[in-house]
Amino acid sequence: MAEVRFSHVIKKYGKNEVVKDFSLTIFNEEFVTLVGPSGCGKSTILRMLAGLEEITEGDIYIDGIKTNDIPPQKRDVAMVFQSYALFPHMTVAENIAFGLKLRRKPQREIVSRIEESLALFSLRGLGERRPRDLSGGQRQRVALARALVLSPKVLLLDEPLSNLDAKLRLRMRSELKRIHRELRSTIFYVTHDQVEAMSLSDRVAVMNEGRLEQLGAPLEIYNSPKNTFVASFLGSPPINLLQARIQKEGETLYVNIGPCKLALSRQFRESYLHCAGRDIIFGIRPEHISIGESGKGKPILATVDVVEPLGDRSIITVALHKIELALITDAQTISPLRTIPIIFDMEKAQFFDRESGENIICKNR
C-alpha cells in the first residue's frame, strides 16, 4: 500500500484545460473520494493516475516515485471501471487469475488466492461461470476481486456503483467499507454521488470545472463548505441558499431575508461584523430548520407547499414570502397550504459572499 501525491497536475485537450492545477496527497491506507458533477475532470484525474491518460503538466508520485512516464502495466495500480470491463471470454476464476498469471505466480498460489478472493467477495461457487451469467452486483464484486487480488499499491474505483440498482448500491457501499477496513488498501474513489462520497471516505475532495474546490473530512466539508458550490453539492435535499442582507441595528446584527429579520446571536457578532450592510447569500440546511414555537430564536410563519413523506421523516417545501425553502421534519401531521411557524438554527447557518460565492468565515480564517 502506498501514498499518492498529485503535484500541480494539469490536463489539456488541445486548448481546453480539463484539469486545472490539481494538487492532492492520498495517505497510506486512506480512502479518498473525488466527487463532482459529470464532466468536471474527476475521471481524467483517475485515468492519469492509472497511466491511461497522459499528464500535460505537473507530476504524480506513487510512494515518492515520479510515475509520469511509467506505463500503466508497471504502476502497480489496479482500477475498477464503471462498466466493470470483465473479460467476457473468461470465467470468473480466469478473470481474477488474469493479473496473477501475468505476474507468473506459481499455480498453487494462484489457486489459493482465487479461492481466498472468491470467499472474501462472497462469490463462492461462481468461479466457473462466465461474466454474462452473473448479476450486476456479482459482476461488480468480480471486478473488485480481480483488482484487489493483486494487492495493488492503490486501488482506483471509477463510479463503481453507478450501474447498480438502489438497493444493491447500498449493500455494495457497506461492502466496500468493510473491504477497506479488512484489507487496509489505499483507495481513490471517483463518483458524482455525494452520498457515496460522504458515507465511504476518510476524506472527500470536491471538484468543479477541473478545479479542486475543497478537501477535507466529510463532516468538515458538510458543516463548513468553502463556497456555495460545495455547500449545494453535498447534502440531500440540498442546502437552501437565499439572497439576504446583513444589517446592524444598535449592537445586534440582523439577517434580512425578504421582509423577515433574523437576529444573529452574540457569538457570531465578531465574525460577521465587517459584513454589515452587505448583500450576502444565506445558506441553511434543511435539517437546521425546525417547525414549532419553541427553540432558539423567533419563529417565522411560512406556508406549506409540498410534503414528501419518506417514512421516518418528511421533506417539506415551504414558501416564505415567495421564497422556497426545503426543510426536514419528523412531524407526521403536516398538510399542504397550512401556515406553520418555522425556526432557523442560526448557529448552523452559513454566509457566502454574493459575488464570489465564497464562505465569509472560511475566507477570514
Partner: protein, 301 residues
C-alpha cells in the same frame, strides 16, 4: 377442419410471408433448383446406348483423370495458402485504420477502392502487367526503366508458364480485390471491443503483446471466423483470376468450364461442381470447429 390452424397461422403471419416470398423464390429459382439439377446430372451417366441413373461413373472417370487430380491439388493449395493470407492482409489493414490519425478517411477510402473495380478489369490489368515476353513487370525487373536501375533477370520471366507463378499472380489479384471485405469485417470486430477491456488489462499488468493475444484476438474471434469462412469459400470457387491468368493450370472452378466446353461433358462438369461443394462444406465445418477449439486454448494463459 384440419386446415383451420394452418390458415390461421398463415393469416397471422401474412405480412411476413409476403415480405419473405421474393427472397424465397429467388433462392428456389437460382439455388435450390440448380443445385438439385446439378446433383442429378452429376449422378447421371450417359453411356453409348443407355442413360444410367444413379451412377458413380462420372466420379470414377474424374478420379482416374490426371487433369482432375492435379486441378484438385492446385485448388487445395490455392485455398490453403490464400485463406490465412486473406485474414492477415485484412487484419493488417484494419489495425492500420482503426486508430485515429490525420487522413484516416482518405486511407480508408483508398482501401475500399479494390471493391469498386470489376474483378475482370483487375484480372486483365494483371494480365497486361505480367505479360510475356514484353510485360511491364518483366521490363522493370530486367532494368529497362530508368527509375528502377537494378537488373534482376537477364531474360523475361514467363509468368503464366508455370503453375506456381501463374497461380501466385492469380492469388495476388484475388487477395488485392478481397482485402476490403476482410478489412471491413475485422474493423467492425475491432470497434466492438470496448476500450475499457484493453485498458483494464493494461492496469492489471498486461503488455501490449498480452493484450493482443489474450484480449483482442479472442474477442475478435467471431470476426476472424467470419473472414476465414467467407474467404475460404470464395477461394475454393474462385474463377475469374485463374481463368484469365492461369489458363493452362486449371483449378476445379475453371476445370468445370473446361469440362463443359472442351470435353463437351456437362455431366462431368456437374460432378466436379459437386466435389467442389462437398469440399467447401467440409472445409467450413473444419474451420468452425478449429476456431472453437482455438478460442478455448487462447483464454488459458
Amino acid at each position: 377442419m384440419p386446415f383451420l390452424p394452418f390458415i390461421r397461422t398463415v393469416r397471422k403471419n401474412i405480412y411476413g410471408i409476403i415480405i419473405l416470398l421474393p427472397a424465397f423464390l429467388y433462392l428456389a429459382g437460382f439455388s435450390l433448383i440448380i443445385l438439385f439439377t446439378v446433383t442429378q446430372m452429376a449422378f447421371t451417366y450417359a453411356g453409348t446406348e443407355k442413360i444410367f441413373f444413379p451412377a458413380l461413373q462420372n466420379f470414377v472417370k474424374l478420379a482416374q483423370s490426371p487433369e482432375f487430380r492435379s486441378a484438385l491439388l492446385r485448388t487445395i493449395l490455392f485455398t490453403v495458402a490464400g485463406t490465412p493470407l486473406e485474414l492477415l492482409i485484412g487484419m493488417a489493414a484494419a489495425f492500420l485504420v482503426v486508430k485515429k490519425f490525420k487522413g484516416r478517411g482518405v486511407i480508408r477510402s483508398i482501401f475500399i477502392l479494390p471493391l469498386a473495380i470489376p474483378a475482370i478489369v483487375t484480372a486483365i490489368i494483371l494480365y497486361i502487367l505480367f505479360d510475356f515476353p514484353g510485360g511491364h513487370i518483366n521490363e522493370i525487373i530486367m532494368g529497362r526503366h530508368a527509375f528502377f536501375p537494378c537488373q534482376f533477370v537477364e531474360y523475361p520471366v514467363d509468368w503464366r508458364g508455370s503453375a506456381f507463378s501463374a497461380l501466385a499472380v492469380s492469388l495476388a489479384g484475388k487477395l488485392w480485390r478481397d482485402m476490403p471485405i476482410s478489412m471491413l469485417i475485422i474493423l467492425a470486430g475491432l470497434q466492438s471491443i470496448e476500450k475499457d477491456q484493453t485498458e483494464a488489462a493494461a492496469t492489471l499488468g498486461a503488455s501490449s503483446f498480452h493484450i493482443f493475444f489474450k484480449i483482442t484476438i479472442p474477442l475478435l474471434s467471431p470476426a476472424i471466423a467470419t473472414v476465414l469462412v467467407l474467404r475460404s469459400i470464395e477461394l475454393w470457387k474462385e474463377f475469374i483470376f485463374p481463368y484469365i491468368l492461369a489458363g493452362s493450370y486449371p483449378l476445379l472452378s475453371t476445370l468445370i468450364e473446361r469440362a463443359y466446353h472442351e470435353w463437351r461433358s456437362p455431366n462431368e462438369a456437374s460432378a466436379i461442381a459437386v466435389v467442389l461443394l462437398v469440399l467447401i462444406i467440409t472445409c467450413t465445418m473444419c474451420i468452425y470447429y478449429m476456431l472453437a477449439y482455438l478460442k478455448k486454448r487462447l483464454v488459458r494463459i
